[in-house]
């Protein structure tokens, strides 16, 4: 990416599902919800707690995850996504939530079940009207972290 042109940052594909740029720290965070009575977390944040119908508040789901399954979609891509593109489920570190997500379209060859991944937010594809949008996706961690760096979800 060049830094000589400051392009306008597109709007997020949905409100309240990830922290917005600029990112001071290493990575954006995925945002979900948890109910005031303690149920959850959930992704995305539900209107009401599906367990007790209480109100919900935002929950930080972090940016670290592990790939649970993935595929490469080689059909005509919807919503201006690259061809091919990859989607999968990742297990979020800490909460263990299994989240459906896009995976890094530029690193498809490096995708592997069980591999740690972290959240990236970049302009990727469009909305239904063809306007560019910020989308969250997970990219494989560059180095396999030492034991214990990523919390393992053994559920």
């Amino acid at each position: 990416m060049t830094d000589s042109v400051v392009a306008p940052v597109p709007a997020p594909i949905a409100e309240g599902i990830f922290t917005l740029p600029p990112y001071d720290e290493a990575a954006p965070h995925l945002l979900g919800g948890r109910c005031l009575g303690g149920h959850g977390p959930f992704f995305p944040r539900p209107r009401y707690c599906p367990v007790c119908l209480d109100e919900t508040e935002e929950a930080d789901l972090g940016s670290e995850a592990k790939i649970y399954s993935f595929t490469v979609v080689r059909t005509r891509a919807p919503l201006g996504l690259p061809e091919p593109y990859s989607v999968g489920y990742v297990d979020m570190a800490g909460s263990g939530l299994r989240v459906f997500c896009l995976l890094d379209p530029n690193r498809i060859e490096e995708l592997e079940v069980g591999r740690p991944a972290r959240l990236v937010v970049e302009p990727l594809g469009t909305n239904g009207a063809g306007e560019p949008r910020l989308r969250p996706y997970f990219t494989p961690a560059t180095a396999v972290p030492a034991e214990g760096d990523v919390e393992d979800d053994q559920r």
């Binding site: 649970y68 399954s69 595929t71 490469v72 979609v73 059909t75 919503l79 459906f100 594809g125 239904g128």
Partner: protein, 387 residues
């Protein structure tokens, strides 16, 4: 308990019916079902019509009333049903419930759909859903299950491909199937990769089509001259609909909703998997059929790929699955698919399936599934029929 009886069936070959409308196809199969049952339009006192895409593709709504009016069915309650790929089978569940509740005596169930239209694109689970915005198209959801099934159980690409080979061979024996040519394992594996690890010939094609069944009370069946035990007295032992739990995390290689719906159907029908003579299941993708083997308990969890490979689910095998050729051979007009499965089961139980007949078929199960939400299914139906 006096069980509902499927007295009439009707179906047109699935395929590309470019010149035909949803109403036109629906009316034809409804008329066939009436003629097959020996009933008149005025005998029908309730109707359910299944369609998924007409509103989106053609801007049409309440199509069921239009279809039934074409065959002289009016004045009565008519309900339009949309439940994704299980729309047709959901309409059937509602029809059976109406008869069981004594609210209706003769219920027309019609599924009609056109999908071979340029504006369709890939089916998803709703444009506004976050998963759709993240690129979830229907084939991808199944590919993610296939990937996990391979990791968790050692399922091999050849085992998945064996499902396509089997179903296309069955389809070659079914005049209602879109694809009538058998294919080889090599052809399946060497066809273009669509969603890893699923190749094109492991994905059901689009199709236009329609199918109908007429569900009646035992009293109506007797008035039509049948007695219990007659080869055309096809009883519905159970017909139910389940919805996903959407709990997190979902195990993609053990589809809880699928297992739950199957277990409930066996309980209500008072039969077990060992009692079945044939199954029609939702083989939208090869991995789906493999997963459904396990949920329906015709093999142990994880053994589905090996079951297909061993030929146990082929015609002549221990428990034939998708003798019609399934979605992989028929193609998949979602409103019509679930009804077409029931037409196949009824045809087999009557002993009228010709060269694909399962010998002495007495109990058949139809399974369908639709919609994707939170890695779970939005609609899963199971029906058990017997003669």
């Amino acid at each position: 308990m006096s069980r509902p009886v499927v007295l009439g069936v009707g179906m047109i070959p699935f395929g590309k019916h470019v010149q035909r409308s949803v109403v036109d196809m629906g009316a034809e199969v409804a008329r066939m079902a009436l003629r097959d049952a020996g009933l008149g339009s005025r005998d029908v006192d309730m109707g359910f019509f299944a369609n998924v895409l007409a509103a989106r593709l053609f801007g049409d709504s309440t199509v069921g009333q239009n279809v039934l009016w074409e065959v002289g069915i009016h004045r009565i309650p008519v309900v339009n049903v949309e439940n994704a790929c299980a729309s047709g089978s959901t309409a059937f569940v509602l029809a059976c419930n109406a008869v069981l509740a004594g609210q209706a005596e003769a219920v027309m169930v019609v599924g009609s759909e056109k999908t071979v239209v340029p504006q369709l694109g890939l089916i998803n689970s709703g444009e506004s859903e976050l998963d759709t915005q993240f690129g979830l198209v229907a084939p991808a959801g199944f590919a993610l299950r296939a990937k996990r099934h391979m990791i968790d159980f050692g399922t091999k690409p050849e085992q998945l491909a064996a499902v396509s080979v089997k179903n296309r061979r069955h389809g070659s024996l079914n005049p209602f199937a879109q694809f009538r040519e058998p294919i080889s394992l090599e052809e399946v594996l060497e066809s273009p990769m669509i969603v890893d690890p699923l190749t094109r010939l492991q994905c059901c094609p689009n199709a236009d089509g329609a199918a109908a069944v007429l569900v009646v009370s035992p009293a109506v069946a007797r008035r039509a001259g049948l007695v219990s035990g007659h080869p055309r007295w096809i009883e519905v032992r159970a017909a139910l609909l389940a919805t996903g739990s959407y709990e997190n995390p979902q195990d993609l290689s053990r589809w809880e909703t699928d297992y739950r719906a199957a277990a409930l159907a066996y309980e209500r029908a008072a039969v077990g998997p060992e009692d079945l003579d044939l199954i029609e299941c939702h083989d939208a993708f090869t991995i789906a059929e493999v997963a459904h083997y396990e949920a329906l308990r015709i093999c142990a969890p994880g053994e589905g790929g090996r079951l297909a490979e061993a030929g146990e689910t082929a015609l002549g095998g221990r428990i034939p699955v998708n003798t019609s050729g399934g979605l992989l051979s028929r193609g998949h007009p979602p409103g019509a698919t679930g009804v077409a499965q029931l037409v196949e089961i009824v045809t087999q139980l009557r002993g009228e399936a010709g060269s694909r007949q399962v010998e002495d078929a007495r109990i058949g199960l139809a399974h369908c599934m639709g919609g994707d939400k939170a890695a779970d299914s939005k609609s899963c139906t199971v029906a058990v029929l017997s003669r």
